[in-house]
């Protein structure tokens, strides 16, 4: 069975049809639970060490609960619908792009997957090899232009090598399985 973007769209369509307050609730709930753990842990510390965590943690928990209650009440009180993306922050400036929420979620999920795969590549083979493989395959997959993909990979590799390694003398992570080891194994 081949997974194509179109074949998994129904999953994201279903996800996008779920009341967004549920996702918000899960996110704020996790924040609240972690803070609860912090508050409980803080009680085991000395008075000086626990003072600030408790001063911040307890009201923070109250704020999270208040946020959850307001979200839950907004539906029943008809205070207005919740947008999945809240632009009020000013930080979430979003372009007026004509894509359905399901497509947007699928693309965002794919990008998160790319980053996770990149992290694994980085850990295993280090920055320089992972950089080339990641950039080439990413640009090739999305733009279908092998020469452009190679140019982006080699150009970025050259910049990183010259700027970080030669000029600044920075040590770049070589990976848990450096390429030399991989080559010997093969």
């Amino acid at each position: 069975m081949t997974i194509t973007p179109g074949s998994i769209d129904p999953i994201f369509e279903r996800l996008s049809s779920v009341d967004s307050r549920l996702w918000s609730g899960i996110f704020f709930g996790i924040l609240g639970l972690y803070t609860l753990a912090v508050v409980l842990e803080a009680r085991t510390y000395s008075s000086d060490a626990r003072l600030f965590p408790l001063i911040v943690g307890v009201p923070f928990l109250g704020l999270v609960v208040l946020k959850l209650v307001l979200m839950a009440a907004s539906g029943r009180l008809s205070l207005g619908s919740f947008e999945v993306i809240d632009l009020a922050d000013g930080m979430g400036e979003t372009a007026a792009v004509d894509v359905t929420p399901a497509v947007r979620y699928r693309r965002e999920f794919a990008m998160i997957l790319w980053i996770v795969v990149l992290s694994a590549l980085l850990w295993a083979f280090g920055f320089l090899f992972a950089l080339l493989v990641f950039l080439f395959s990413f640009v090739l997959l999305y733009e279908r232009k092998p020469i452009r993909a190679a140019l982006v990979g080699v150009g970025t590799f050259s910049f990183v090598y010259v700027f970080f390694i030669r000029l600044l003398g920075a040590n770049i992570y070589e990976g848990a399985y450096p390429i030399a080891v991989l080559g010997a194994l093969l």
């Binding site: 510390y45 400036e93 979003t94 790319w114 970025t156």
Partner: protein, 511 residues
């Protein structure tokens, strides 16, 4: 090469008399040597480029330069480092404006209006304003530094621990006022930042907190990898969802000049922000984050149209960047006067002083006054250079906003992850960046301010440590919190910061 520099050292002797005229002459001779001018140019360009990469700006670029400058004479080495420092602050504003990713925490407030301007196709205007405000702010900061040399010691010790505690609270209070989201969401984001700030070894109480048996967390949650995660990585995930260029509008090349002019047109905002930045810069440890935010807040509060802030008001960029660069001159006051770093960058600079056999503090002004002036001249030259390079390259820089995201995103992601690694050389920092990239993405989705998170993470430890220090000094007497005039002034500032928006909204609802 070392012999050559030894010979040059003989021509440029270290000053021993403390005579300002002699010190200035030696400083000019050092800085205006053609080769040293080239060094300044290279250091400035390096600072500018490093500042553009989240994680490499300020202290990291300086730290990486120290081994390179080590073989050089002290005068030249410190000149290069000062020039590098001058270049990094503006570099951080470029990514804040173009990619919604501040180069460092002190550029955080620049994203509020810089990025909306970019999305409106006005990136050139924002960069023009940032370059001009940065350069002029830095020059004003340096002029104020020179003017205060006669009483630098008194200024350096003006702020006690308790004042720094109140100043940090003043910075934290801006979270509820500056950001545009719901107050509850902003406070939750700020609270989350504070909770993160409590992780790790507390230097005052000596206890390791919330490490959950991970040695990695002993040194706390590292700031720069977190910034790269919540801004750069999160922004790239979001852009891939939209699959469009950053700006839908064709960038306006002529806007650069409009941005330059806007600084002169809004000279009151510039002067107020620079002065505020400089004063806060003199407070050891407070650094640019407080300066950046308070300057932004005052610009918003004094503007006839405060609601336009956060939607692309050029004064937001001017205020933030003028304060950020002016604070460098201010932070030199405690750095040079007492040997107490005024910011993270100047902490590294102090290390460079020591490595080069120069002791910052009162003796510096008696025995090596020429170094003070070399730093002053290097900062002025580097800031002018940075501004010129920034303005000249703006038309090329803004093309980033037109690059296809499928090309831009992977480059930003990989360079961001490299930036998060090189600071401490720990792969765990890369994983933390990725983790906070996902958290930052959900913060955008659910309307939580990432800037509030960063401000709280920076200022939380500052508030806590100075609170405990103040109580240790007073042997537990709580009256220390309010028995100094400066403390009372700062408390009044907090009350005003919180009350003015309430007053305005009540007045607006009546009318």
């Amino acid at each position: 090469m070392t012999e050559l520099f030894t010979a040059i050292d003989l021509l440029l002797p270290l000053q021993q008399t403390g005579d300002p005229t002699e010190a200035i002459r030696i400083a000019i001779d050092t800085v205006l040597t053609p080769r040293n001018l080239v060094y300044i140019l290279l250091a400035t360009l390096l600072g500018l480029v490093a500042g553009m990469f989240p994680g490499l700006g300020g202290p990291v670029a300086l730290a990486l330069l120290i081994p390179i400058t080590y073989p050089l004479p002290a005068n030249v080495a410190l000149m290069i480092l000062a020039a590098n420092l001058g270049g990094t602050a503006f570099g951080g504003s470029i990514t804040a404006i173009l990619l919604n990713t501040p180069g460092d925490a002190p550029n955080a407030a620049t994203v509020f209006d810089g990025y909306p301007l970019t999305r409106q196709g006005r990136a050139g205007e924002a960069i023009g304003a940032s370059a001009t405000a940065s350069a002029l702010g830095a020059i004003l900061g340096v002029i104020l530094l020179v003017a205060t040399i006669p009483f630098i010691r008194q200024l350096s010790v003006a702020f006690h621990s308790v004042d720094i505690f109140w100043l940090a609270l003043l910075g934290l209070a801006t979270i509820a006022v500056v950001t545009r989201g719901s107050v509850i969401s902003d406070l939750i984001a700020g609270g989350f930042g504070l909770i993160l700030a409590f992780h790790g070894l507390n230097p005052v109480t000596g206890s390791a907190r919330f490490t959950w048996d991970f040695d990695y967390l002993l040194s706390g949650v590292p700031l720069v990898p977190l910034i790269i995660g919540v801004f750069a990585i999160a922004e790239m995930i979001k852009l891939m969802g939209e699959r469009s260029t950053i700006s839908q509008e064709e960038p306006d090349i002529k806007g650069v000049l409009v941005g330059v002019k806007s600084v002169f047109r809004n000279w009151k905002v510039f002067l107020r922000s620079s002065s505020l930045g400089w004063i806060i810069g003199t407070v050891p440890g407070a650094g640019g984050t407080v300066a950046n935010f308070l300057a932004y807040l005052q610009a918003k509060q004094t503007d006839p149209d405060p609601d336009s802030f956060g939607k692309g008001n050029i004064n937001g960029v001017i205020a933030s960047e003028a304060a950020n660069d002016a604070k460098d001159g201010g932070s030199m006051v405690p750095t040079l006067g007492l040997g107490i770093p005024g910011s993270a960058s100047t902490a590294v600079l102090i290390g460079a002083f020591v490595i080069n056999g120069v002791s910052p503090g009162p003796l510096l002004f008696r025995e090596n006054l020429q170094i003070v002036f070399i730093i002053v001249f290097a900062l002025i030259i580097s800031n002018v250079l940075t501004s010129i390079v920034g303005l000249a390259s703006a038309k090329y820089l803004i093309k980033v906003t037109q690059i296809n995201v499928t090309t831009l995103v992977p480059i930003v992601v990989i360079v961001g992850l490299i930036g998060s690694f090189v600071i401490r050389g720990q792969f765990s920092d890369v994983l933390l960046t990725v983790g906070f990239g996902v958290i930052g993405f959900f913060m955008v989705k659910f309307g939580l301010s990432r800037v509030a998170l960063i401000v709280a993470l920076v200022l939380g430890p500052l508030a806590e440590q100075n609170f405990h220090r103040a109580f240790q000094i007073s042997r537990g007497d709580p009256s220390i919190l309010y028995n100094r005039p400066l403390s009372l002034l700062l408390i009044l500032g907090i009350v005003l910061v919180l009350a003015i928006p309430l007053y305005r909204s009540r007045r607006a609802s009546r009318t």
